[in-house]
Amino acid sequence: MIARVALAALAALVVTAGAGARPAQDPGVTPSTVLLGGTVPLTGEAAAFGAVGPGAKAYFDYVNASGGVNGRRISYTFYDDAYNPALTVQLTRKLVEQDKVFAVFNTVGTSNSLAIREYLNAQKVPQLFAADGSQAIGSASARYPWTMGFLMSYRGEGAVYGRNVAQTRPRARIAVLYENTELGRDMLTGLTRAIAGKGPKIVAKESYEFTGSDVTGQIAKLKTSRADTLMIFATPKFFIQAVVSAHKLAWKPRLYIASVSIEPGIMAIARVNAPELTNGALSIAFVKNPNDPVWRRDKAVALYRTIMRRHNPSGRVTDVYNWYGMTVAWTMVETIRKAGPSLTRAGLLRAAQSLNLPRNPFLLPGIRLQTSRADYRPLEHVYLYRYDNKEWVKASGLLLARG
């Protein structure tokens, strides 16, 4: 009898010890749920990007309605940081420390993503697929392995414009308006390198602070350079200001527009105010535009409309940032799937570091999402598009946008 009790006690001890040896569960994940969090600018200067949050959430809700990923439903909490990095920090800490999110996802903005990078890496919280293409984030994987952006390199985007202008108008005189952040500076670097020794010249450049109020003065200065080409490496508010100001000055340069500002609703405002400038403007694209008749019969567009109707009924279907949100959410879902049923933060990061996804239905054909431990840029290919004052029309084959 004593021996039997001793044996039972020993067995209990073994079981208890075994339980104690299991790795502690990461916050924000249970056998049936995983909690993601992020910040997006629903208000403020960059509210135009706001739909990336609701768009992504709608896609997660659609996936949840079909059973989730590896048996887990994805919850996604996003807060409005008004594009203010100080608020991004505050709200991200809330997400990690109070809401106990498993990972931070889809943060919008370079300054915003940089502001939380140190903290999230110290906490070993995955910071995945930030809406960013800066060198500061894309080339710092060795020091900040927990942080990965989503967009193609801003330098690469600038280089695409540079190569295009060098090929098509080798005598171009280029003026550049750029945001004095990684976004603008990286694009300018890419452009400068791409045209070096090839004919086109940058004859003037003016920067603005993203906390500034107006770029009218900068445009007036750029006009005096007698440039025939204007590259606007700016977020939507400043892009519209720039176009309206150039129109008022009767300046008619050929426009190249940073892809962050080409959403059809934003272009519609620019077109209403300066049609002579927007007609023929060039930019790059990597996602399909659900408003483009070319994709009328595309299955992804049909799926998008269904998801919007069921899971984001108050959202504007024509707002391409909803579509972008779904593009990134699709990628996150596949990354979680790849991480497997035993979901940990380290496992999610390993999955993100080895993506090879050729069929994201929201991306333009031929664009593949690929990463490695040394390559933290999922997107590296784009197409050049031309605006005809109705639609963006494809103007090139697949182009490499590596910085």
Partner: protein
């Protein structure tokens, strides 16, 4: 000599003042209201020049005799809204806005916002124009308020919209988002107003430029008459053997002559097989004449666009005094005569 120079300078200054004063006073004179109504669907278009002073409030009285239905549930869309604002923060870009007029839910409009617009008056209904552009949503409250006292001479109720000042310095509390200066709005309102002929009258009150202070003395009224049109027609034999016809008639609106209407004349040998023969325009007296080469039976279709109607200001001047009446309009219409036989 010195005195002559001073005199000349003073004269020049007076001249400048003479030129400047009218333009300062003329900074809020283009406000215009146009209304058309079909059944209980009223389409109200309110516009003014984008360079006029910013608008602080607009109060639109519905015509006398209008029956009101305000039982719509919160969240109900009463109809689409299209607006254009000049966004001062976007280098003065025109921003086309689209959205819907929604019946406000309880608490959707902050009490302080309502009080700032209506004071202590309780509205019959509270609505919100939910407008958006480029990801930015601009909710603009609108209220339906019962008239009282002398106001009742203009109609049983008015729609009131108050707007924030767009041109005060950035950072001033209450400044319009993006420095948005509203200068055009078209609202379709379904199921609220019965059709009642008469004049809708808008009272527009501006802000003092760059100060954000309401300029009550700058208020102007702009009426919009809504009434049905009619066309009458007669035909006399003309030409050798009476083969042709002189088709004449008159276009009226609200019982008054309607000039400038396009009158299409239909004719044929059989009353039920009329073909379009041509068109004429109605004269200042509303009359028109058309010479048809053939035809026994005739009909006229009149189409009138919305247009200026100076008589409307005269008709309401007593009710709106001392507020100046500007840019009166009358609604467009289409009307069809009966088929007549030439005599």
């Amino acid at each position: 000599m010195k005195r002559r120079i001073w005199t000349a300078a003073a004269a020049a200054a007076s001249l400048v003042a003479l030129i400047a004063v009218p333009s300062a006073f003329a900074a809020y004179t283009t406000a215009k209201l146009e209304v058309r109504q079909s059944g209980t669907t009223a389409t109200i278009k309110a516009t003014l020049d984008p360079n006029d002073d910013p608008t602080a409030s607009v109060r639109i009285f519905v015509p006398t005799g209008t029956q009101l239905t305000t039982t719509q549930a919160p969240g109900t869309s009463l109809g689409p809204v299209r607006a254009i604002v000049k966004a001062l923060d976007l280098a003065g870009a025109d921003l086309p806005l689209e959205g819907n007029l929604i019946v406000a839910a309880r608490g959707q409009i902050a009490p302080a916002t309502q009080a700032a617009c209506l004071g202590t008056v309780a509205p019959l209904a509270s609505w919100v124009m939910v407008l958006s552009a480029a990801g930015q949503t601009l909710p603009v409250p609108a209220y339906l308020v019962a008239t009282a006292g002398a106001q009742a001479a203009l109609g049983p109720a008015y729609i009131q919209v108050c707007l924030p000042p767009p041109d005060v310095p950035a950072g001033v509390p209450g400044r319009a988002t993006f420095g948005a200066k509203l200068y055009s709005a078209e609202l379709t309102i379904n199921g609220v107003f019965s059709q009642s002929p008469g004049a809708w009258v808008a009272f527009w009150t501006p802000y003092r430029p760059a100060l954000g202070q309401v300029n009550a003395a700058g208020t102007v009224a702009s009426p919009a008459a809504v009434s049905a049109g009619a066309v009458t027609v007669a035909a006399k034999k003309s030409g050798r053997a009476g083969v042709g016809a002189v088709v004449s008639g008159r276009v009226t609106q609200g019982g008054q002559a309607r000039a400038g209407a396009t009158v299409a004349i239909f004719g044929g040998a059989k009353a039920n097989r009329l073909k379009r023969l041509g068109s004429v325009r109605s004269s200042a007296s509303g009359a028109f004449t058309f010479r048809a080469k053939t035809g026994l039976f005739f009909r006229a279709n009149a189409t009138a666009a919305a247009g200026a109607a100076p008589a409307v200001c005269s008709a309401i001047s007593a009710a709106i005094a001392p507020v100046p009446c500007v840019n009166p309009t009358t609604s467009g219409f289409t009307a069809q005569s009966r088929v007549i036989r030439k005599r």
